[in-house]
């Protein structure tokens, strides 16, 4: 037996919006992700050419060399819209706070010893600047890209990169007793230490990339898959006795990589699969940026683990991943 509350049943005239129904092939109930995403960006009848880029309309498919018949093909497997995105991140952040509390209560970083602390300051903390540069790139793709299916997750990703830069900063503040001195030292390393110059050059070069989808490939398969994975996954040995503590404090990054990677993989795969021309372009871009990221990561790898193995491992994993997406490298 069940409890039955009587409610009035009113017959709806239609299930969803016209543009959604046309995509679903009929008037069927749509998800919140679909209604919040599909066809919400303007596509026609723009009034003025931008003063800052008069060669294009505000939203213009010509801002990348790849061509899609429909930019709403690369959908987000996470089905994120603003609400579900924020709730997902707030949940992940709860774990971050618990982990920080755990580490701080037990002074796990303090007990790790001066050598390990110094290692973290020069080897881990500067990555917050790489996250910040990645934030700039994702904001750029959001503003410059075409179709909300791709651009909305990009502003989420930009926020994620800023959030991770701030988690790394918090690690610094734990290390330096909330004085900020470790962050100053790490910034100096980012700007001048040979280990980081490859990474810094790479991200600065990406800042001037005009083709937004090429930038997407550079960021997700170059920066994320090679450089971030190099430090968070393949460089773990560098933290010595603090390895487990660092793993706890960067759990967010590991979870995020796994989750965001699913989305960025679908985007790259779908765009490459559209045509032989797209496949050739995306493959070439992936090869170029993975190679460049490997090159950029070598001195960092040597600094962290004593040889180039972490850079090689990260780049090889990125290549395998790219091949798995149908790219020819």
């Amino acid at each position: 037996m069940s409890v039955q509350i009587k409610t009035i049943d009113l017959e709806p005239k239609r299930q969803t919006f016209g543009h959604i129904a046309r995509r679903l092939g009929g008037d069927k109930p749509a998800t919140r992700y679909q209604e919040a995403t599909l066809d919400v960006q303007a596509t026609a009848n723009f009034h003025y050419k931008p003063l800052w880029e008069p060669e294009y309309w505000l939203y213009d498919t010509r801002k990348t060399a790849v061509v899609m018949e429909d930019w709403y093909k690369p959908l987000d497997p996470r089905q994120f819209y603003y609400g579900t995105y924020n709730i997902a991140r707030a949940n992940m952040q709860q774990a971050v706070d618990r982990n920080f509390a755990f580490v701080e209560e037990r002074d796990l970083l303090g007990k790790a010893g001066e050598a390990v602390k110094a290692r973290l300051i020069s080897g881990l903390l500067p990555i917050r600047h790489l996250h910040w540069g990645s934030n700039m790139n994702m904001a750029e793709i959001c503003q410059r890209g075409y179709g909300t299916a791709v651009t909305a997750p990009c502003i989420f990703s930009a926020a994620d990169q800023l959030g991770m830069a701030q988690i790394v900063s918090r690690i610094g503040l734990v290390l330096d007793g909330q004085s900020g001195s470790s962050l100053d030292a790490a910034k100096e390393a980012w700007l001048t230490a040979p280990a980081w110059q490859g990474a810094r050059r790479l991200i600065e070069d990406s800042f001037v990339e005009r083709d937004w989808f090429r930038l997407f490939v550079a960021q997700t398969l170059g920066v994320n898959a090679v450089l971030l994975d190099l430090v968070y996954r393949h460089g773990e040995a560098a933290w010595g006795t603090a390895g487990l503590t660092v793993a706890m404090l960067t759990e967010f990054m590991a979870d995020w990589r796994a989750e965001e990677g699913k989305w960025s993989d679908v985007v790259v795969k779908t765009v490459a699969a559209e045509s032989p021309e797209n496949l050739a372009l995306v493959s070439q871009w992936a090869k170029e940026w993975i190679d460049r990221a490997e090159e950029a990561g070598r001195p960092l790898s040597v600094d962290l683990v004593g040889d180039e193995s972490a850079a090689t491992a990260a780049a090889d994993a990125a290549r395998t991943r790219a091949r798995g997406l149908g790219l020819t490298l």
Partner: protein
């Protein structure tokens, strides 16, 4: 000695602008190519005062909590058929106007703040802009989810993005935002951050939300409350931007003043739709447009400009004209929609006697003299079966794109016309304000996608009204025409009859 602990402000600086660095492998001017051409001079970006201090973790926590609550209300509203509880079926037309006219602007704001969130050289403002970009995406998406339920029952909502890009009166808000987005990053910040979000927000966003509250639209009003804390962040960003620009260099003042003048007038013209909504479309009135203007512009705006006076900034040009026009614009706009009801995606109706009396009371200087007689005449014609429709296509202002129906300042019997000639072509304007905007940037405004011109040029599906409506994806006989006798009206009456039966 223990190291000195950071204060909150310094800590926040480490978490945000401390992440930023001067690039050396690529020149800064190549990394930030757009923030110099407008002529704004920034001596020291580090002087930027963060208008709020949110790190991403607190942003996520705070926003997630609001979203959980909002969606709980939206679900309950749908489950309980909350749409049957609004004041009157006519009210839904406000929701239609909002989703087709305003929500797409939220999207434009989202992408526009992503642009400034990447391309302003200072890291502090960039982060504030990125958070606003996220918020504006939120507003679009939660508005769609809120109104999605109304779309299941009422007409005129289902093609909102398609219509926003095409329908004649929707080119008014669309061109407004295209204009801001086509401008440089600093002008965008003044246009949207300051003029729209700070100066005029209480005349745009708030009337819709108060209207929802007064008319029993529980889902929209819940959205409104939920967005309030976002909006107050947006306001603090807008005011910080203008102060920062004015403090940075005296040469910025004339540029900023020109933008304030322009965006005040541009915004004022868009607000004509809100004026009409408040005075004619809300079954339960919140206040008259004139009252809203007095409170939110004359008084609140007045003290704002008093505060900004120390930077040399003056009250926007033509503020006095706008104040005088507050007596007229709602009546003139509703009259336009009444005449062109066959081409609008929401319903119009003849104000009844009680409504006319309310307008007479709220507009003692003008309503009985100029507008009431016209409504009474048109009501008479309706009674005789000769409901008045205007069969011709109106001429549109080249800048604000509103049909030329506004009158001369000081003479409500005479339609205002202005024009300018550029390269042998004559361009027409509704006002001095719009003409000034054109004359300052003719290369921009000769590009305007004017719906009526486009129809004449054959770019809108054909030469006849049915062709054009078809191209708009307007469901003729359902989306357009008078409320009385519409499918919306029939549905509403059925629900109402069912409710009364149950009550007996």
């Amino acid at each position: 000695m223990a190291p000195k602990k950071l204060g909150l402000k310094q800590r926040y600086a480490h978490m945000t602008r401390g992440l930023d660095w001067e690039t050396t492998y690529q020149p800064m001017d190549a990394v930030f190519p757009y923030d110099t051409f407008e002529g704004i001079k920034i001596k020291d970006w580090s002087a930027w005062e963060d208008p709020f201090r949110l790190t991403m973790d607190s942003y996520w926590k705070f926003q997630a909590e609001k979203e959980r609550k909002l969606y709980a209300v939206l679900d309950a509203f749908a489950q309980n058929n909350g749409q049957t509880g609004v004041s009157d079926g006519r009210y839904i037309n406000v929701v239609k106007l909002f989703l087709t006219g305003v929500s797409p602007l939220e999207y434009q704001a989202h992408r526009g703040f992503a642009f400034t969130g990447r391309h302003l050289r200072g890291a502090g403002p960039r982060i504030a802009c990125q958070m606003q970009s996220l918020d504006e995406l939120r507003h679009l998406q939660t508005q769609i989810h809120t109104i999605s339920h109304y779309n299941k029952f009422f007409d005129g909502i289902g093609e909102f993005p398609h219509m926003h890009d095409r329908v004649w009166y929707l080119s008014v808000p669309k061109s407004f935002f295209d204009d801001a987005r086509a401008a440089g990053p600093f002008e965008f910040m003044i246009a949207i951050g300051f003029a729209f979000e700070y100066l005029l927000t209480n005349l745009l966003f708030v009337p819709f939300m108060s209207g929802a509250a007064y008319n029993g639209d529980m889902s929209t009003v819940t959205f409104g409350f939920s967005a309030q804390s976002d909006e107050s962040r947006h306001m603090t960003l807008g005011i910080e931007v203008i102060k920062f620009l004015l403090e940075q260099h005296p040469d910025n003042l004339p540029i900023v003043q020109k933008w304030v003048d322009k965006w005040f007038w541009r915004g004022f013209r868009v607000l004509g739709l809100v004026a009409m909504m408040m005075d004619y479309m809300l079954p339960k009135k919140v206040m008259s447009w004139k009252e809203a203007w007095e409170i939110y512009f004359t008084e609140a705006g007045g003290s704002l400009f008093q505060d900004l006076e120390r930077y040399g900034l003056k009250v926007p040009k033509y503020a006095d004209v706008a104040t005088e026009a507050a007596e007229h614009i709602s009546h003139q706009n509703w009259a336009v929609f009444y005449q062109y009801s066959h081409a609008a995606a929401f319903h119009t109706w003849m104000p009844d006697k009680e409504h006319l009396d309310w307008l007479s009371e709220k507009y003692p200087n003008t309503f009985d003299k100029y507008y009431r007689p016209r409504w009474e005449m048109w009501a008479e014609m309706e009674k005789e079966g000769k409901r008045f429709y205007n069969p011709s296509l109106p001429q549109l202002c080249q800048v604000c794109q509103i049909p030329m129906a506004y009158t001369e300042p000081g003479d409500p019997t005479k339609i205002a016309f202005r024009c300018t000639e550029v390269a042998g072509e004559t361009y027409h304007f509704c006002s001095d304000g719009c003409k000034d905007i054109f004359d300052a940037e003719p290369e921009k405004y000769i590009q305007s996608w004017l719906p009526v011109h486009q129809i004449f040029q054959g770019n809108c599906g054909g030469a006849t009204v049915p062709d054009v409506l078809n191209w708009y994806r307007m469901n003729v006989g359902a989306d357009n025409m008078d409320y009385v006798g519409s499918p919306d009206d029939r549905l509403w009456s059925e629900w109402h009859a069912a409710k009364t039966r149950e009550a007996v």
